[in-house]
């Protein structure tokens, strides 16, 4: 089992619904976020194009944050989900430094927090909150090891990219372009 996400940049409108839904689902304190939107603009007016992306922890196969965590709070769960066990986290912030995606933040309660792929929902067979709210239906969540999954299907049929592949982290969020 290998959980992953594919996000269609051709459909995302950058509305941030995924950000609000994550906030209310996971009690992310206001002013912090586990996911966010980036906009890249290319060219000059009027020959200009943009790409909108919903970004979050890439749940990397080769995760530097897990490697550098001194207490083992950052670890892999089933399906390759990278998680932080709050009570084991001493808040040292080494993981925050090591993440090339700036996906982690210091929670005001003293631990480091980030996207969990909504494992509490996924274990019940639901989609992550962000995926299930997206009005453009541009996000696909699933198991890369299941050849019949929707995510495998879109990745077979569409061009995609990952963010900062040069960092060598083997990210598991794929952007359809």
């Amino acid at each position: 089992m290998r959980y992953a996400m594919a996000i269609d940049t051709k459909k995302c409108v950058g509305c941030s619904d995924c950000v609000v839904a994550c906030q209310t689902e996971n009690n992310v304190p206001i002013g912090y976020c586990r996911d966010w939107i980036s906009e890249t603009v290319d060219g000059t007016y009027p020959n200009v194009s943009i790409e909108l992306r919903s970004e979050r922890c890439n749940h990397c196969d080769n995760a530097p944050c897990v490697r550098c965590c001194p207490t083992g709070a950052s670890h892999f769960e089933d399906g390759g989900i990278v998680l932080v066990t709050h009570h084991k986290c001493i808040g040292c912030g080494a993981c925050i430094q090591s993440c090339p995606y700036e996906a982690r933040y210091s929670h005001p309660d003293g631990y480091v927090d980030k996207c969990t792929f909504c494992i509490h929902r996924v274990r019940k067979g639901e989609d992550p909150a962000c995926v299930s709210v997206c009005p453009t239906n541009c996000m696909y969540f699933g198991d890369l090891d299941d050849p019949n999954s929707e995510i495998v299907n879109v990745l077979k049929n569409r061009k995609f990219k990952t963010l900062a592949p040069e960092a060598g982290t083997s990210p598991q969020i794929f952007y359809l372009v």
């Binding site: 509305c15 950000v19 609000v20 206001i30 909108l52 509490h120 239906n137």
Partner: protein
């Protein structure tokens, strides 16, 4: 200077001591994942759910409110059975929790009093406040008749107060959504097809082959169903054509983006009509069956070639032709989107007519992938005595202007509230509910004068919006998550019913609108119109008339039924449109008879002077009107608006990214607050863009206060649409000030 109605800042009064909030902001369960990896169990807490429909915008998506053990609203999600949202709310709806948990909410009734020579508010009981209002309203009725009371409304509370005001006997019920927004569009389509495109619009985007957006930025306006369907259309390979001076989000997803010179849309529309007719690629079969006036139209657009439009619009003739051909190739599965906020230049009915005519030439209304025929469930009115017949109609307030206005015109009501030429004002009192007129209506001077002249001004709201500072009485309404409202039975692709019920009890001393209207009614001697103790009686009775019940709706939230009629013209049948002749009016006899152009004519609009830029305003997906600017969940995403400015223009002015500057318009009006510069290649050189709804100057809105610029304060040039009174707001220009103009003046 002292005025009759000093603006009072509600904050000064130390409110909020009256009750304890349910406090959704304090979450009790912590992170639902929390320490589950430590084996603590992965059960997230069970939350109770209640059906609702969203009130953050007019789309009214149905959903579920989740209530935690502490009585706070944890989250809101969409109802899967609702075709308006398909289980997915937009960011504003998802963030609706922030409206409930807003610490700045209005908490008790307030009454204006004079204390030590100063006007101020004091907290009042509901009884005092309602008795006072009823007393004033009786006085006004006795002196000048019930017609001299007016209602300004937006949203669900408007229904309850409209009922009250009709029972009281006034015809003057005005929604800013008419003259400030969708009115010109609705009148333009009515003049052409005999009916408007409704709300939510009857656009069949899901199945379209070609979607043309001109003055519509789907994706930045989060009209949920349309955003979802545009995404489906992208998946299905539909061609999207976007006309916008700005690379909008939709433009960035389009096969064709036409970066038009602002204010010239009508020239483009006319030349598209020209191409369709003179290249003979219009839908001849449809036009001959359903339309009238084709020959006149053909003659009318003879000279409106793409070459004619080129210098006006700055769009290349070959692009105009290519896009017209795309539309023709997709016809009739093509939509020239009617837009929504259409009050731009004062010739807006005519521009929308051109859009309607294009749809007619392509045969889109009545065909799959074009515009469909809506169907809904008719909810009977709860029995009440007949409304009294007002002595005069809202048309009187238009003073012989705006003959096609088929709703009351806000700006006429405002104008009629000011005594003029030694004559008494026709309007003496207002009830304002759910709309912050200070941000929604331009013409601030007139508005101010009117408010100073009134004998009674009552404001009903959930938040201390600017307008509350001018009221004699402020009535705190509870949010949509704490109340019953009317059944949502909007007609659309599928007939549906949706229920809104309280997920939690009204917080503080707030009350639902139905209760406020009823209590006022009783005090006005209109108790017969409110023949129920609780609104649940009305809802249950109504639902039983249409084969459901309150109990059933509490369980399911949304009920869909099957259609009795086809959404499209059935092959072999002849459809009759809702015009007098049953035919689509390419040439409008109605407009001609009223003294207007029977077919749209392009006229040039004001241009910016040297050093000035056209002020374009629009939407951001996470905000609605000015009402979300204080919502903690949503301001976290976008705390203020920024000035979109082309980097080349910024270089000319020496502006850096993130710098704060002030805006000054062509009439010398300077923005109250500075705005952050956003350098972006997404905007033309001759225009700047800001998102509407920011720049609040009422301190009690503790989050929104002073963030960004309010576009409507810079809209002092208003071009009235002579056809229906729309307030065209796009003819305003700004230049930039880098120093605080307030400080300059002091120095």
């Amino acid at each position: 200077m002292k005025t009759r109605r000093d603006f009072i800042k509600i904050s000064a009064l130390g409110l909020g001591a009256t009750a304890a909030a349910g406090g959704a902001a304090k979450w009790v369960f912590g992170d639902p994942v929390g320490d589950l990896m430590a084996g603590a169990g992965d059960e997230s807490p069970e939350l109770k759910t209640f059906p609702t429909y969203c009130e953050v915008c007019f789309w009214k998506c149905a959903g579920w409110a989740y209530v935690n053990e502490q009585g706070g609203i944890q989250k809101i999600t969409g109802n899967l059975d609702d075709p308006q949202c398909n289980g997915r709310l937009c960011p504003r709806g998802t963030g609706g929790v922030g409206m409930f948990s807003d610490p700045d909410r209005l908490k008790t009734p307030l009454m204006r009093v004079i204390k030590n020579g100063e006007q101020t508010y004091r907290e009042a009981t509901w009884d005092e406040a309602l008795n006072f209002i009823a007393g004033k309203m009786k006085e006004i009725k006795a002196k000048t008749g019930p017609e001299s009371m007016a209602l300004f409304f937006h949203g669900s509370s408007g229904n309850h107060f409209s009922h009250l005001m009709k029972a009281y006997g006034t015809p003057n019920l005005a929604a800013p959504s008419f003259a400030q927004c969708r009115g010109p569009r609705d009148v333009g389509f009515e003049a052409t097809f005999g009916e408007s495109v409704s709300s939510p619009e009857v656009t069949d985007i899901r199945d379209t082959k070609c979607l043309v957006l001109i003055g519509s930025h789907i994706g930045e306006n989060m009209h949920n169903g349309q955003v979802q369907e545009m995404s489906e259309a992208i998946d299905n390979g539909a061609v999207i054509i976007t006309v916008d001076p700005r690379l909008s989000t939709a433009a960035s997803k389009s096969k064709f983006w036409l970066p038009i010179k602002p204010s010239t849309d009508l020239a483009l529309l006319l030349s598209w009509i020209h191409v369709l007719i003179y290249e003979n690629i219009y839908n001849e079969d449809y036009v001959s069956k359903y339309a009238e006036g084709f020959e006149q139209l053909k003659e009318h657009v003879r000279n409106f070639t793409p070459e004619w439009a080129y210098p006006i619009t700055t769009l290349k003739p070959h692009e105009i032709r290519a896009t017209a051909r795309e539309m023709a190739a997709a016809a009739p599965a093509v939509i020239i989107h009617p837009g929504r906020h259409a009050a731009w230049y004062g010739d807006d009915v005519q521009r929308t007519r051109a859009i309607a005519i294009l749809n007619a030439l392509l045969g889109s209304w009545g065909n799959r992938g074009g515009l469909f025929f809506k169907e809904g469930i008719k909810i009977p009115e709860f029995p009440h005595p007949e409304y009294p017949q007002p002595a005069w109609s809202y048309h009187e307030l238009n003073n012989g202007r705006f003959p096609l206005a088929n709703e009351a015109v806000t700006n006429s009501v405002i104008e009629s509230s000011i005594p003029a030429d030694g004559k008494e004002a026709k309007i003496k009192g207002w009830i304002v509910t759910g709309t912050n007129l200070i941000a929604s209506v331009p013409l601030k001077e007139q508005l101010n004068k009117a408010m100073q002249s009134l004998e009674l001004l009552v404001v009903v709201d959930t938040m201390p919006m600017e307008i509350t500072g001018y009221a004699d009485v402020v009535l705190p309404e509870c949010t949509y998550l704490e109340r019953y409202d009317d059944i949502r039975a909007t007609a659309h692709r599928e007939p549906t019913l949706a229920l809104r019920m309280p997920a939690v009890e009204p917080q503080y001393q707030t009350k639902p609108a139905w209760w406020i209207a009823k209590e006022l009614g009783v005090r006005l001697g209109l108790g017969d119109y409110f023949n129920y103790k609780d609104y649940t009686e009305v809802l249950d009775w109504q639902l039983k008339q249409v084969g459901s019940s309150l109990d059933e709706m509490k369980r399911i939230g949304v009920k869909k039924t099957t259609r009795n009629t086809s959404p499209y013209i059935e092959p072999g049948t002849l459809h009759s449109f809702k015009t007098a002749s049953g035919k689509i009016q390419l040439y409008s006899h109605e407009l001609a008879a009223a003294g207007f152009d029977a077919m749209p004519v392009y006229t040039p609009h004001p241009e910016p002077q040297e050093g000035y830029y056209r002020l374009i305003y629009g939407r951001a997906p996470m905000h609605t009107f000015s009402r979300t600017a204080n919502n903690r969940n949503l301001v976290a995403l976008m705390p203020e608006n920024a000035l979109w400015i082309n980097p080349q223009v910024a270089a000319l002015w020496g502006f850096k990214k993130g710098q704060y500057i002030w805006l000054k318009n062509q009439d010398g009006v300077v923005s109250k607050f500075p705005i952050k510069v956003r350098l972006t290649e997404r905007i033309r050189w001759d225009s700047v863009y800001i998102v509407h709804g920011f720049g609040h100057h009422h301190k009690p809105l503790t989050f929104a206060y002073g963030r960004g610029v309010n576009d409507t304060e810079l809209i002092t040039n208003v071009m009235l649409d002579p056809v229906m009174g729309g307030t065209g707001m796009r003819g305003n220009f700004v230049t930039f000030l880098t120093k605080d103009p307030g400080k300059e003046a002091e120095a």
